[in-house]
Amino acid sequence: MRTWLQVHHVAWSALSLAMTAGVVAVAGDVLVPVPNLSQGDLDGVPLALIAPLAASAVLVRGVYAGPADLEAVAVRPTGAYRAGLVAAACAATLLAGLLLTATVPYGTAAARNLAGFTGLALVASRWRRDAATGVPTAYMIAAMLLGGGSGTGSPWDWAITDSPGLSSWAAPATALALGLLTCSVFPGRERAPS
């Protein structure tokens, strides 16, 4: 197990999660101006909603690190290990977000985005594993460009919604569930960049 943790860069994932949590706590409410089409002017998106992209990328990189061929024929349930790593990271972040709701205004929303981004990347890895983390980044930028901005938002622009309401959790929770299924049951194939 220790070897698996090393091979899958779990320490790096933990470090990136801690650093992202630090950014969210210290500068999470800093607004990044975005040219928003639906509102016709510059709109600000809190940095806390963007920062989880980095932690998600490191986490997904860790999930798919290691010798895929060996893991495909391993006796141990490596698929479950991968899913467990993602689930543990997302659960820990959510717990931290909920515990610190009073002091960190965007903690829960950041935890939600981490779960959603990671889920999207894991689902995208079925298409192309080495491009998987680009998908949530592109999704985030599209949501910022086209989304409704602050407030409750629409189901699809959850990534820029600062509301911690349950309605904004539907899409990221679904993405995470599908992602966990993808990385545990369908490990997918690794394609080298052509």
């Binding site: 990044v32 980095a54 998987a132 983390t133 980044t137 592109a138 930028i141 080298a192 052509s194």
Partner: protein, 418 residues
């Protein structure tokens, strides 16, 4: 070289639709708010291009860099120099960026169909330089990072660098990114040369450092420190060029006037408005004579949209769509000081501004309704009170209140309606 395979295998082909869609969104309705000059159109196209293509090209560069790294080109026997290897991977991305910029220019060109002039090549060149610089940063990052990290890092990181400085109250940062916020310049202004130079200096340094980082297989700590220090040194050189700039990169324009002489007075408009020169002269010259007679100011030898000293030359504006009253109001209020003196909160001189504007505009020949809309009924009433005075009294009223607008120790007089 199998060209089709070369192009098909490049990340630029995957990124092209994303870039095109993003640029279309960034451009959006902005073309409806363009000024009547090609510089504003060029800045909008270049800004949309940098904003849309900079991050995507950087991400594509990270992908291509990782590809070259996985191909172990640095470890193989050197058949070609590193620059050539890099160029073959860079060219499709560069071609995509150029096509994107040309596409953006085509879109704004439709909006500028009736405006004479050409795009500003220096603005486009710097935009392309910025895109190339970030693409090379992507290549360098791709050499050390797997695509799973490099692609999102460059996509989000470059986008943040381009977008975030607009939120900072430290204005000079935004003038270094090359984004330019999509706006510059009104027809009476031009792009700050220092800002463009600073952007070019920084982009060249970033590109150079990125190339060296990509091409260097092994190196001492000193060499890596030198590479890292290159952009820092460029920032130190570029900083004084933008340090004192405000939120926008526009500065007053001094060239590009088209002039013609009527009745001994030279009338000048910006060359983009040459078609309106006759209209402008027909409106402005009689107004100049009326204003000169009523205020006692000497008649100017020049009425211009460009720089004017207020004595031998008066300023006015003939923007597209402006009617006669708009031109007259601009000409009349051009005789008042542009900014109040630094007198503190108790200064009452500002009370004279609107009544004097109304009096000058009415004297110039503007309609009462038009003046009332701009200055308000109270100011119109005060102006009417002044207009009821004999000509010499009106000139004294104007002279006194003009002094009240320029000095702290003279209170305005008779600036309220009876």
């Amino acid at each position: 070289m199998p060209l089709r395979r070369w192009l098909r295998s490049s990340a630029a082909m995957t990124a092209l639709p994303l870039m095109a869609a993003y640029m279309f969104f960034v451009l959006g309705d902005s073309t409806n708010f363009l000024e009547d000059n090609w510089l504003s159109a060029t800045v909008l196209a270049a800004s949309a291009g940098v904003m849309a293509m900079g991050p995507v090209c950087a991400a594509a560069g990270a992908w291509e860099g990782a590809r070259l790294s996985r191909g172990r080109v640095e470890g193989a026997a050197p058949v070609r120099p590193p620059a050539v290897i890099l160029a073959w991977s860079l060219l499709p991305i560069l071609g995509t960026a150029v096509s994107g910029l040309l596409g953006a220019l085509s879109l704004v060109a439709v909006a500028m169909a009736d405006v004479p002039g050409l795009p500003a090549p220096s603005v486009l060149a710097v935009a392309l330089l910025v895109i190339v610089a970030w693409t090379l940063v992507g290549f360098a990052a791709g050499r050390f990072l797997p695509p799973l990290l490099g692609v999102p890092l460059l996509l989000a990181g470059t986008w943040l660098w381009l977008a975030y400085p607009a939120a900072l109250e430290t204005f000079w940062v935004r003038h270094l990114t090359g984004n330019n916020l999509g706006f510059c310049c009104e027809t009476g202004t031009t792009f700050h040369r220092g800002a463009l130079t600073a952007q070019a200096i920084l982009a060249v340094a970033v590109a150079g450092a990125a190339f060296l980082a990509w091409a260097r297989h092994r190196g001492t700590r000193r060499a890596w420190a030198g590479i890292a220090g290159l952009p820092l040194a460029a920032a130190v050189v570029a900083f004084p060029l933008v340090r004192d700039m405000g939120p926008e990169a526009q500065v007053p324009r001094t060239d590009g006037l088209v002039c013609s002489r009527w009745d001994g007075v030279e009338v000048c408009v910006w060359r983009e408005r040459e078609k309106r020169l006759g209209f402008a002269a027909g409106i402005a010259l009689p107004a100049v004579r009326r204003l000169s007679a009523a205020t006692g100011l000497p008649a100017p030898g020049r009425v211009t949209e460009g720089p004017a000293d207020g004595r031998t030359s008066w300023r006015f504006a003939v923007p597209p769509g402006a009617g006669g009253d708009d031109v007259l109001f601009g000409l009349a209020t051009g005789l008042l000081p542009a900014a109040p003196p630094s007198c503190g909160p108790d200064w009452s001189g500002a009370d004279a501004y609107a009544p004097m504007s109304a009096w000058l505009a009415l004297t110039a020949g503007a309609g009462r309704d038009s003046v009332a809309r701009r200055t308000g009924p109270a100011s119109l009433g005060a102006a009417g009170r002044a207009l009821a005075l004999p000509p010499a009294g009106q000139a004294r009223w104007f002279g006194h209140n003009l002094a009240a607008l320029r000095r702290c120790d003279i209170p305005p007089r008779e600036v309220t309606p009876l």
